[in-house]
């Protein structure tokens, strides 16, 4: 307590400084008076008595200062003094100040920006949603199947009903449709959500209501929708009487019952949703049929909120025990099926997974940028401390303590860092939406949303970074500066080009740090660029020149009976268009964002292991699919027009599936059982990539669309024409069949392939940009050190010249010193890079983390940049006039 009292008393003293000072003066004066009085009484002359009293008392001002320290909060008082003085010093050398602040702004700003992205995308991704710290993604898995396998609606209810540690479970399944308001039709993304969705999230619609409990169930029983604020404003003109209006969605009249608040975009990282419908409407929005009562149809993505105080481990244990009960009760569907929680930044079914690795690596990169920036500012301060040596010497001579000097230099550093932090946060604010630029929208009308968020947490870390940076960059120069040797202060520093005093050794050390950090970044950039190139050049196994088009029959309300003749006729007509080599249908295009069909499979003659789940993905395609996409058939044949509902059900499998389940035997003519129907294998197709170039080879099979008809299909066309050239012909054929339909604007499959590779592109872009910044900063640092070394050794260089050294010798001397530093830095950097690049794992595509090309690239760039940075000062050194130099 006394400690706190003392602190408080001093704090109060800070505000009563003048009053307390007066009191103190009066008290000391009284003391002196008493002392003088005593001396007079002892028989001294009044004048001599006063002098004697003063002598006895000691140095009045020193005592006052020491006493003051106990009475007012001196350090705070000095801090303001230092701050004011620091500001004056910065203003006096604006060039230095601006350079230092720019470096730090770059360092702090990039860090704050990446932090705000991490905060806004990974940690608290959903604006307005309450308790995101207790919100977890439901990560359903099936033994033996990689990745997320989803939940069925009945399973979802089982977990909800049987758990006790959860506040709520919510369903949120992304889906797309075409939204036509007035005469404008646009693609829109929406969510199929459980009835408790808005209540569980704590999001209150600004108009109308959320969904009622009964609206979650009953097949197509509750056609109601909540629309987003943006949709309300842009598509309905902000109509205040919107509640109760109807809107046709996928052919069904929906009543608008609510408008979500402006900042609420839904709960899917990356996408800003347009509207939400309750789970009862699943069939209307899912192109693959009614699933609310099907335990094996796993389509649900969702989240759960834990009760306060419950840990994730406890919750996982409870979910696991429920899974085991379900496995016992429903062995057919639930064998090996399990549910666990994932933190939001590891959500398995949205962009979170992709962003985590990218943002993690970016964070490391910008941290390096900050370190390099700090080293630069350190260097600048060291150079300046030489100019201020006179000032420091003077202060020490006048009795300032070294601690006081260090404190003052720190305060100046802090001032620099504070200004830079303000600038840095402004940088972060401006770039909060920059990530969206790298993420292409999948279709017109669909809004991509990857906002950074600058909240108190980001601000706090930025302030901490600012203080940490000050410690880093101001420490060494401050200690250096306070060690001015009073007697030797007037001697010039004898730094030579070759040798180097303690100070220049220090600066060389800083450059070493910069060069090695830059080298790590360069190597990382090289690796990412190379894997990006490799990925772009790698063939997915099919022809990406194929053009995609068609019409959204599902949103237009077609049923299977109407869709069948439409597609048959469209295919016939398109095949007649001049220039078209072949055309086919497929439920999903290659590399689609959509989900392939999957179902439990029985394979004739294959003995399944007791724990094995045979749940394989497949796709519904029309005749000529393999020909159109250019996928070679390894054995048997591809689908033909005659593989229709009247013919024997058939399938084509891929090579991985053939090898895994038939192990060397010929699978042609064998049978597999899909949804109670035996399919005969008629062909084996070469492996291709189905969803991304990064996926490992997987078992996959194809079924004829005519034997498994669905309303939603894509038209794939192989032609020499461009998408633009074929557009009007396609529109003509679609509208000849149904004038109310708008054809989907044709595009090449390559575009979709590019979209799917955005993570790698984003990572390469970010690392290249920040790596470039780092390199630039390091080059400035190297240049500064070499310039300084040259300017300090003018006399030595002049002497060498006078003794007969040639211009070439001098150039060589300076450059070789700089290059020695660079090489040392590169060696340290290479060792660090070899350990660090291994962490990039998933972002690298067919590139070893120790790829010699990437390291060679880093080496070449580093040496080139270092050479330039050394050459400029070296040339200045070579131009020294020996006569002038020696006279100095």
């Amino acid at each position: 307590m006394p400690r706190f009292r003392a602190w408080l008393s001093r704090l109060v003293g800070l505000f009563q400084k003048n009053k307390r000072d007066e009191e103190m003066n009066a008290e000391m004066q009284a003391h002196l008076d008493l002392l003088t009085q005593r001396k007079i009484e002892e028989g001294m002359e009044p004048g001599a008595a006063r002098a004697a009293a003063r002598r006895e008392f000691g140095g009045l001002e020193q005592i006052k200062e020491a006493a003051r320290e106990e009475r007012v909060w001196l350090s705070a008082d000095q801090f303001w003094q230092d701050l004011r003085f620091g500001a004056r010093m910065l203003l006096r050398s604006p060039g230095f100040s601006i350079l230092a602040i720019l470096c730090l702004t770059l360092g702090i700003g990039t860090n704050a920006a990446v932090l705000s992205w991490i905060e806004g995308i990974l940690i608290r991704p959903y604006p307005l949603v309450a308790h995101q710290d207790r919100m977890f993604a439901l990560n359903a898995t099936t033994r033996g199947v990689t990745g997320y396998t989803g939940l069925s609606f009945p399973e979802f209810f089982d977990y909800e009903k049987n758990s006790t540690l959860f506040e709520s479970f919510i369903v949120d399944r992304i889906m797309g449709t075409t939204l036509s308001v007035g005469d404008r039709a646009e693609r829109a993304s929406g969510g199929i959500v459980s009835a408790n969705y808005f209540d569980a999230l704590g999001v209150r619609p600004i108009l109308g209501r959320g969904f009622r409990p009964e609206e979650g169930t009953g097949r197509n029983a509750h056609p109601v929708t909540v629309i987003s604020y943006r949709t309300w404003q842009e598509r309905y003109g902000g109509d205040p009487n919107i509640i109760g209006r109807t809107q046709i969605l996928n052919g069904i009249q929906h009543t608008i019952v609510g408008v979500a608040p402006e900042k609420f975009h839904g709960t899917f990282i990356g996408y800003s949703f347009t509207f939400w419908v309750p789970t009862s409407m699943q069939e209307a929005f899912d192109t693959t049929g009614y699933k609310l009562e099907d335990r094996s149809a796993r389509w649900i993505e969702g989240y759960a909120f834990l009760k306060t105080g419950v840990t994730r481990q406890q919750a996982d244990a409870e979910l696991h025990s429920i899974s085991q009960r379900l496995e016992k009760d429903y062995p057919e569907t639930n064998r090996g099926h399990d549910l666990a929680l994932s933190p939001l930044w590891k959500t398995p079914f949205n962009q979170a997974g992709n962003m985590t690795a990218t943002l993690g690596i970016t964070m490391v990169v910008v941290f390096f940028v900050l370190l390099i920036a700090c080293a630069n500012v350190s260097n600048l301060l060291l150079a300046r401390s030489l100019l201020r040596r006179h000032e420091m010497t003077m202060r020490l001579a006048l009795g300032a303590g070294r601690r006081r000097l260090i404190k003052q230099l720190f305060t100046e550093g802090l001032l620099l860092a504070l200004i830079a932090a303000v600038g840095g946060i402004a940088v972060a604010y401006w770039s909060r939406n920059a990530l969206v630029l790298a993420f292409p929208s999948p279709a017109a009308g669909i809004v991509i949303d990857l906002p950074g968020q600058i909240d108190w947490r980001v601000l706090l870390v930025s302030v901490a970074m600012c203080i940490g940076a000050t410690m880093l960059f101001a420490l060494v120069p401050a200690i250096q500066a306070s060690h001015v040797d009073l007697s030797g202060a007037l001697k010039t520093e004898g730094a030579g080009v070759v040798g180097g005093s303690g100070r220049s050794r220090l600066r060389s050390g800083l450059v070493l740090v910069q060069v090695s950090l830059s080298f790590v970044l360069l190597a990382g950039t090289g690796l990412l660029l190379q894997s990006l190139l490799r990925m772009q050049n790698a063939s997915p196994g099919f022809s990406t020149d194929v053009i995609v088009s068609g019409a959204d029959l599902f949103s237009a309300g077609y049923n299977v009976e109407r869709a069948k003749p439409f597609y048959t006729q469209l295919l016939d007509r398109v095949r007649e268009i001049p220039g078209v080599e072949s055309a086919t249908l497929a439920r999903l295009i290659p590399f689609s964002y959509g989900v392939f069909s999957s179902a439990p499979l029985e394979i004739d003659g294959y003995q399944r292991a007791p724990e094995e789940q045979l749940n394989l993905s497949y796709i519904e395609v029309a005749d000529d699919y393999f020909k159109t996409l250019g996928i070679p058939i390894a054995a048997g044949r591809e689908f033909q027009r005659t593989d229709d509902e009247n013919a024997l059900p058939v399938t084509v499998i891929n090579e991985t599936m053939a090898a895994k389940y038939w192990q060397g035997k010929d699978p042609i003519g064998q049978r597999v059982k899909l949804k109670d129907r035996w399919l005969q294998i008629v062909g084996v197709a070469k492996n291709v990539n189905y969803e991304s170039k990064l996926e490992p080879p997987r078992s996959f099979f194809y079924v004829p669309v005519r034997q498994n008809f669905l309303v939603s299909n894509n038209l794939l066309i192989r032609t020499r024409e461009t998408p633009g050239a074929i557009r009007s012909a396609l529109a003509h054929e679609v509208q000849a069949l149904d004038p109310t339909l708008a054809p989907i604007a044709p595009f090449r499959v390559q575009e979709q392939v590019d979209r799917k590779g955005y993570t790698q592109r984003l990572a390469a872009t970010l690392v290249a940009i920040f790596g470039g910044m780092a390199l630039f900063l390091a080059a400035i640092g190297l240049y500064a050190v070499m310039s300084y070394a040259v300017s300090q050794s003018t006399r030595e260089l002049g002497l060498r010249m006078a003794l007969g050294a040639s211009v070439k010798d001098l150039l060589g001397l300076v450059i070789s010193r700089g290059m020695r530093l660079t090489i040392a830095g590169i060696i340290i950097g290479a060792i660090a890079a070899l350990t660090l690049t291994r962490l990039m794992g998933d972002l690298l595509y067919q590139v070893s983390p120790r790829d010699p090309l990437a390291f060679g690239f880093a080496l070449a760039v580093m040496i080139a940049v270092a050479f330039i940075a050394c050459f400029l000062p070296a040339r200045r050194a070579a131009r020294i006039d020996p006569v002038i130099a020696l006279r100095m």
Binding site: A6, S9, E27, A30, E56, G58, A66, A67
Partner: protein, 110 residues
């Protein structure tokens, strides 16, 4: 400035001031006088360190100060020991006794 006199052991000044104020309120000079007198002139307080120490003790709430008049009718600031100060004095005495005992044992050792 009494250079021939032994310096005070570091940190003991606070304790001595508290002791000097144990029975009567005193002003600064009187505190210095009292310490000198009680130590039979062996200890002499450097006046330069007296005031910082007084203010330190005041800030900690061990002593409190009021303006008053001295014997010869001069204005002076008088310091009084507080209840907390009394406790502190006791604690410091015990501590000091232990320390000196220890030191003496060391010095007396063979």
């Amino acid at each position: 400035m009494g250079k021939q006199k032994p310096d005070l052991v570091y940190g003991t000044l606070d304790m001595l001031i508290l002791k000097a104020l144990q029975y009567d309120p005193r002003h600064g000079l009187a505190v210095a006088d009292r310490i000198q007198q009680m130590s039979k002139e062996i200890l002499r307080v450097e006046q330069g360190s007296l005031y910082p120490a007084l203010y330190r003790l005041e800030a900690q709430g061990w002593i409190k100060a009021e303006w008053g008049t001295s014997d010869n009718n001069r204005k002076a600031r008088y310091y009084t020991l507080t209840a907390a100060g009394r406790k502190q004095l006791l604690a410091e005495r015990e501590h000091w006794a232990r320390i000196t005992k220890g030191i003496n044992l060391v010095l007396a050792g063979a």
